[in-house]
């Protein structure tokens, strides 16, 4: 089933970040292997950060993916709103992955600043995809102010710890009517599959692929993990049991 996000239709439910890739060649191969159709990029001073010396936009064009600017590194609503507006001017898109960091060690979001920025950007016509914590109440507030999705962290950015609080991710899924995209903390394919099994509509990840020893192989794994998790979520899994339930009937057993 296609994935509706911000009024657009996607086939892939995997969104890829570009941070951490060793070079643009590896990044391009990973993007292609992942099957993603939506890729997030940061805004930085020309000629400083990786990718900002040119070639990144052309790479995304070649891959035929849609660009999703982000406000990575912003610490206040004011700063994030400005970066979103600069990104809109630079890339001709009103989509933004809204990120407002509240703590340096965990890079967890500042919920107060995030909500403030989301409100302002929605009012300014943006399609806002906020990176949020796994707090079901904050997720609902973000959906209520008009965000096009909510993107809770499974665990801190780049930690590879997976989904720390599966119960909260389920509560978030039940509490909002917009897509839920698990963003941050994914370490390996089973983490992405779990996120989808919990009912998430998509997964956004970067480091798990870009910093893997073999990014292209991991991108392929993530592609299948997201698909597998989605299928499993809809397939009606068996109940967990304390004891065994034989899968082979007793009838017709030989007497030996």
């Amino acid at each position: 089933m296609p994935f509706e996000l911000g009024g657009e239709t996607f086939t892939s439910r995997l969104i890829l970040g570009t941070g951490g890739a060793a070079n643009l060649h590896v990044l391009e191969q990973a993007i292609r292997a992942s099957g993603t159709e939506l890729v997030t990029v940061a805004l930085r001073r020309v000629g400083t950060a990786p990718g900002s010396t040119g070639g990144l936009l052309e790479l995304l064009d070649r891959c035929g993916v849609r660009l999703l600017p982000n406000t990575a590194g912003c610490h206040t609503a004011t700063e994030a709103v400005k970066v979103a507006r600069l990104a809109r001017d630079a890339f001709d898109t009103d989509w933004v992955k809204l990120e407002v960091i509240g703590d340096e060690r965990t890079l967890l979001p500042d919920g107060v600043e995030l909500l403030r920025a989301a409100e302002e950007l929605v009012a300014d016509g943006f399609t806002v995809l906020p990176y949020t914590s796994d707090d079901p109440v904050l997720a609902r507030r973000l959906a209520d102010v008009g965000c096009a999705a909510v993107m809770p962290a499974g665990s801190p950015i780049g930690s590879g710890l997976g989904v720390g609080n599966p119960h909260h991710i389920r509560l978030i899924r039940q509490g909002v009517d917009v897509p839920v995209i698990l963003d941050a903390g994914i370490g390996t394919a089973s983490d992405a599959a779990l996120a989808m099994e919990l009912g998430c509509d998509g997964v956004l990840l970067a480091s798990a692929v870009t910093r893997a020893a073999d990014p292209v192989a991991m991108a392929t794994a993530m592609r299948y993990a997201v698909e597998a998790g989605r299928l499993a979520a809809g397939a009606g899994r068996i109940e967990r049991r304390f004891h065994a339930l034989a899968s082979t009937p007793d009838e017709g057993r030989p007497e030996l």
Partner: protein
């Protein structure tokens, strides 16, 4: 006049506009955005926006991240 561009000092002609400065820094300004003294200057306003001595200019583009 003296500007601060992306955190570093830079001398430009006295009558330089934002468009002139961007042209000096990037040959093809696709995917570039500019802020002057912390305020966004939209692309359409670059030619008309004259720079002033001491302006702090950020010239930004896509980078890997997020």
């Amino acid at each position: 006049m003296e500007l601060t561009v992306n955190g570093a000092g830079r001398s430009v002609a006295a009558d330089a506009s934002v468009a002139d400065l961007v042209r000096d820094i990037v040959p093809h300004p696709r995917g570039v955005a500019v802020a002057v003294n912390g305020e966004v200057v939209p692309r359409t306003g670059w030619p008309a926006r004259m720079l002033r001595d001491g302006d702090r200019v950020e010239v930004l583009t896509a980078a890997q991240g997020g």
